[in-house]
């Protein structure tokens, strides 16, 4: 018992080592990972790091430019908005909301999608037809439009925006998992564990599921970055997080009228979105290359 636990641990360690070997080949992927870890750190310790309260209005310092510009002040490094709120602090606190939104969207759509995909692939029959046709329907409407319509039903707000976006991402996970399940279903190891009397649940979750995870993980990373973009887009359109919540897209929307007077209030939140999404995409590309068996052989 003890022995087998140790051996399975060491293979896990080996797998991890092998994965890291392939992942670290790409310097850009590692750079993306480092930046992403930094953003997570900033988000976790936003209260300690940010120089001001995100909602605090320093009226006498309204529309102050960034520190390196003429008239800028060091205490408001990235300038202030129309109400004299510190942009840097708002962006730092915004990282929390964006990362949270991205994570929740991925967790929701991934878990529901994988479950439905497994069931569709494993059970087949009318259940599979039903699930797949519903997914086709969701995919027939552009994601952002469907999310907008769902938010119109649920009411604007960050939480509803997350749920709506998660629904539009689910089909991709269902399709991936179903395809992998179908290809794994006839493998010898599945037949073998069926012969030994494993239950359907055990077959689905213990035998088949782990072997479907590689493409799902890659899709999960890609969805994480698009989820941040879509959350920001809904916030920008006024259907996501509501002002004065410092969500990145909402920040851009509330300062949109200042684009002539105080362009920094629009530029910096956008740079934050771009860098975070870019870092996640770099990690995603690295993950895909490291997990893709085709590349491994060469």
């Amino acid at each position: 018992m003890n022995h087998s636990a140790v051996s399975s641990k060491s293979t896990l360690g080996q797998q991890w080592q092998e994965f890291w070997f392939y992942f670290s080949v790409s310097k850009t992927a590692v750079a993306g990972l480092v930046f992403l870890v930094l953003v997570v750190f900033v988000a976790l310790f936003a209260d300690v790091i940010s120089p001001h309260e995100p909602a605090e209005q320093y009226r006498q310092f309204a529309k102050l430019p960034p520190a390196w510009k003429e008239g800028g002040q060091m205490q408001f490094f990235l300038g202030t908005d129309y109400a004299g709120r510190d942009m840097l602090s708002r962006i730092i606190h915004g990282s929390r909301l964006s990362l949270l939104a991205g994570s929740i969207v991925v967790i929701l759509s991934l878990s529901i999608g994988v479950l439905l995909g497994l069931i569709a692939g494993y059970r087949g029959g009318w259940l599979e037809i039903l699930i797949m046709r519903v997914m086709d329907t969701i995919m027939a409407v552009p994601g952002l439009l469907l999310a907008l319509v769902l938010v119109a039903i649920l009411g604007p707000g960050l939480l509803n925006a997350m749920v709506a976006i998660a629904i539009t991402y689910t089909p991709y996970f269902v399709r991936l998992t179903r395809a992998s399940t179908l290809s794994e279903l006839n493998r010898d190891y599945v037949t073998a564990s069926k012969m030994t009397g494993a239950s359907s649940t055990r077959l689905m979750f213990v035998s088949i599921l782990p072997n479907c995870m590689a493409p799902v993980i890659v899709q999960g990373t890609l969805s994480f970055s698009t989820a941040i973009l879509d959350t920001a887009a809904l916030g920008f359109l006024g259907m996501g997080a509501q002002a004065p919540t410092p969500e990145w897209g909402t920040l851009i929307a509330e300062n949109r009228d200042l684009i002539l007077n105080a362009p920094w209030t629009v530029t910096f939140p956008g740079i934050a979105i771009l860098l975070a999404v870019l870092a996640i995409n770099l990690v995603g590309d690295g993950l895909r290359d490291a997990l893709d068996p085709k590349l491994k052989r060469s």
Binding site: D136, T137, A140, L145, L274, L278
Partner: protein, 339 residues
Amino acid sequence: MLRFLINRLMLLVPVFIGVTVVAFGFIRVLPGDPVEVLAGERGVSAEKRVEILANLGLDKPVWQQYLTYLNDVLHGNLGVSVKTNRPVVEEFFELFPATAELAICAIIFAVIIGVPAGIIAALKRGSKIDQGIMGISLIGYSMPIFWWGLLLIILFSNTLNLTPVSGRLSFLFDVDPVTGFMLIDTLLSDEKGSFLNALHHLILPTVVLGTIPLAVIARQTRSAMLEVLSEDYVRTARAKGLSTFRVVTIHALRNAMITVVTVIGLMVAILLAGAILTETIFGWPGIGKWIIFSIFARDYYAVQGGLLLIAITIMTVNLIVDLLYGFINPRILHQKNKS
């Protein structure tokens, strides 16, 4: 070919029904009582209420209401906009050319730059040029396009004063809408300078909407080219002494085209979603801006109709792409027919 077409059409039927169920359900699950919305603040008596419900067909069971709705849809009746009192279909098709023009320009922009960029990156694999092209395309792919649009407005419209901020044509021109495509209409009209003006209005929205497709096309073209370039027949062509230019243009590009057509098919949904943001930023009078306006105005019949018509547009374009795909790559056609 005909069998292929029929097969494809049959596959669309369940999706079409699914979309009509979603559009039908949308109005039903919205919070609020339809009769009270119609009656406004005055309210209604109980008898009047029953009468209104019967008039709207809302007293019947839900499945019967759905069938009535489906029947209306199949006859091209998608209800009347509450705000403008005009049929939703009429409004949609009046605004559709503006979005189509923008989307077509965006995809042309993306293909003209993306395909050569992808080919060059593949040919110079691993070089600084390759890294540069792939780096830029990854940035494009990660771009929040609503912000990108605002950034371009700051730079080109406000600082350099090169392009207009919003709309399709300056108010100084009076051009008759013939096709709805501003570039064509201005050419047909005798207003001097109107074509150039329309072109100026198009530039920034095209760049903004085309950015993500451009990045995707460049990446896909590169990987498709890399695959093709390692094939035996390309090596044979090289061994025969053909120049790189001939190998690329004659042998490899045909296969790259397959990728591009596939990507364009996948892009339609992304373009229409992007159009919502792009049109909002640039005040472009198309479908995207209209549907956002309708959502905010609680004009739910317009939203319902727009949702359905956009889904149908995407299904139609995907069908056309599938057929094109069959033409470019005959193997697909035969495979599908056999099964």
